[in-house]
Each structure stands twice: as structure tokens, then as C-alpha cells.
Symmetry: C2
Subunit: 193 residues, 2 copies
């Protein structure tokens, strides 16, 4: 059996039969998206769940003052969408853009629902995916509440070294909730040591 990146990702948590693999793959749609394109824009229907085979994506919220807040980055082996709107069938609140040209597998909500209903193992798979996403966000809330900007930057660099290489400081700053100028000064202070 071949083993595409998305299958390898699924195999980390559940074991599928050959038929199940075929069915799963039949629900996916591959897509190559050039750099600086949008997979999702605020206000659009959010009917797809994306798996990143390669490339770099960013999800961000744009507030009424025009300020961007980066909600998540996704590199290879990550799932990404505006989950709140995907689940609740609401117009997207987030923008999702490619920072680098990306190869994506997309699964529609109908596909997602069918997969969960027809193959209970996928309920397990997505339970684990959601569980990990939940605990990751909760850790982020804890750190936002208890650490200084400098400490949050350190944690980010330690946790996501791959992402640090691929995104701009402006984008990291908007993930950490600080201005690019302030991040620059944190880095300058650090460089002196």
C-alpha cells in the first residue's frame, strides 16, 4: 500500500483496512496552492478541512481596526481550518493564506461527517486531533496570561523552530500579541548578551 503524508498522519492514531483507506482517499481532494493565495476569507462559507502536505499556511483574525492577529500557523503534517465556523456552519471569521506555495489535501464537511458516521475509527482519530488542538490552545492561554512577551517569544522559538524559519517577525509578533517593533527590540536586547 502506498503511504501518502495524510495517510501516515491518520496511521499515527488509527489502523485502517485497505477498503477504508480507499474510501478515505476518495473523499480527499488534492490542491496545489501558490504562495500568497487565500484558502479561506472572512465571511466565506467554511466547508473544508485542510491537511498540509507541504508548504506554510497562516490563519489570522482581522479586527475592525485592521489589526491582524495570527491564530495559527500550519506546516507539513498539520490540519487547519476555521474550526468554530466549520463545525457550526457559520461564515468564516478567519483568513487562511499560504505563506509558501503549498500542497494541500482538503476534506469537505460532508466528507468529514460521512467519514465519522461510516468509520467509527475516524471519530477516534478526530477526537484525538481535537483533544490535541484543545490542549494546545489551553497552554497558549496559560502562557498568554502568565508570561511576559519575551518569555512567550522564547517558548515559541523552542516549540516551533520550523515555523520560526519560515515566517516573518511581523507574523510571529502578531501571534504573540505584540507589535513588530517591540519584538525587534526584544531580539536586539537579547543579541547583546
Amino acid at each position: 500500500m502506498q503511504s501518502s503524508p495524510v495517510l501516515q498522519n491518520v496511521n499515527k492514531h488509527i489502523q485502517l483496512t485497505e477498503d477504508e483507506v480507499m474510501y478515505f482517499l476518495s473523499l480527499l481532494h488534492q490542491q496545489v496552492v501558490p504562495k500568497k493565495h487565500f484558502l479561506l476569507k472572512e465571511g466565506c462559507a467554511c466547508n473544508q478541512l485542510y491537511f498540509v502536505e507541504s508548504g506554510t499556511l497562516r490563519a489570522y483574525y482581522l479586527d475592525r481596526n485592521g489589526k491582524e492577529s495570527t491564530i495559527m500557523f500550519a506546516v507539513n503534517d498539520w490540519w487547519i481550518t476555521d474550526m468554530y465556523c466549520f463545525i457550526n456552519r457559520l461564515p468564516a471569521m478567519l483568513h487562511i493564506e499560504t505563506l509558501e506555495s503549498a500542497s494541500i489535501q482538503q476534506l469537505s464537511r460532508d466528507g468529514f461527517d460521512a467519514l465519522c458516521s461510516r468509520i467509527p475509527k475516524f471519530e477516534r482519530f478526530f477526537r484525538i486531533i481535537m483533544q490535541n488542538a484543545y490542549t494546545r490552545e489551553q497552554l497558549r492561554v496559560i502562557q498568554n496570561l502568565s508570561l511576559s512577551a519575551e518569555e512567550r517569544y522564547d517558548q515559541f522559538v523552542a516549540k516551533y523552530p520550523q515555523i520560526v524559519q519560515q515566517v516573518t517577525q511581523k507574523q510571529i509578533a502578531s501571534y504573540l500579541g505584540i507589535t513588530p517593533e517591540f519584538l525587534s527590540s526584544i531580539r536586539a536586547a537579547r543579541a547583546k548578551k
Copy 2:
């Protein structure tokens, strides 16, 4: 069939047979916990998932400077634990205390695992619980990044009116990531209007 609060909660998302109900209930352990007692302390093994039948609970992180950050409140019909540590079998990073005397149903991690393995419908149930928890935390991150303290307070009051009645301002402040003094001044400014 009787319908305890925890069964009603489960029934919101999945339909169980009578046998499944019996099995599920056999895994639960009811507990009445007086006000100001701890269900979990930092450093302890976190082997239980708690469902609140009545009462009020608070999970918080205590940082090295002694500052408390409230991670979540739980009132009736909520599930609560230190999920990151529960899932990863790590010593708890959070404290969970009762703010008001509470009636709790607890499910051990072994029970949780058994339930998911033996009744795939429970994979679905917890997938939905985790999904909701994830999107709730993500919304919180978005609001922390894009709103002022005053706006976050307004959102909190609008979203959790029941909780506002049951917890102190100090605790709300520690949820919002501000000091009690600053929350007090926000409320004073508001009262003038």
C-alpha cells in the same frame, strides 16, 4: 429509565441503549465536595475527568511569582479537568477547587479509555466535547489578542451570566488577565454612564 444530569448531557450528542447506559453509569463515581476544597492540585496525578451536576468549580494556574490565572470555571452541566495532563499522564499543572459546594460525577482515565474502546459512540461524544472545548479556547485567544480589557469583560458577562453571579471579581479579573483593581475601575467607569 431515570435521567441523571450526566446522562442528559450525554444524550445531547449520542443515543445509548439501556445496556450502554448501565455500563456507563457503572464507571462513574459520585462525590459531594464542600466549598473551598480541591479536586486537583498542581503536581498530583490527574486521572479523573469531572462532570459538574451542581455547584461551581474553578481551574487555575499558579505561576512562580504566586500569580493565579483562572483557566476555566465550571458550573452545572460542564466537564472539567486538566485535560493536557489527563491525556498525557503528566502531573497536573492546574489546581481545581470548588467555589461552592458541588456534586460531581467522576470518570477515571481507565474508565474513559474503556468507554471509548467499547462504545464507539463515546468516541463521538468526546470528539464533540473536545471540539467545543477547542473552539471555545480559540475564541478566547482571538479575544485576548484583539480586544481591550473592558471589551473582554463585556464579552465575559454576556457569555457567562450565570458564572458572573457566582464568582468574585478577583476571580473574573484573573480569567481576563487583569488585576482586580483595574477591573474595579472599569466597573466604576461603567457605572457613571
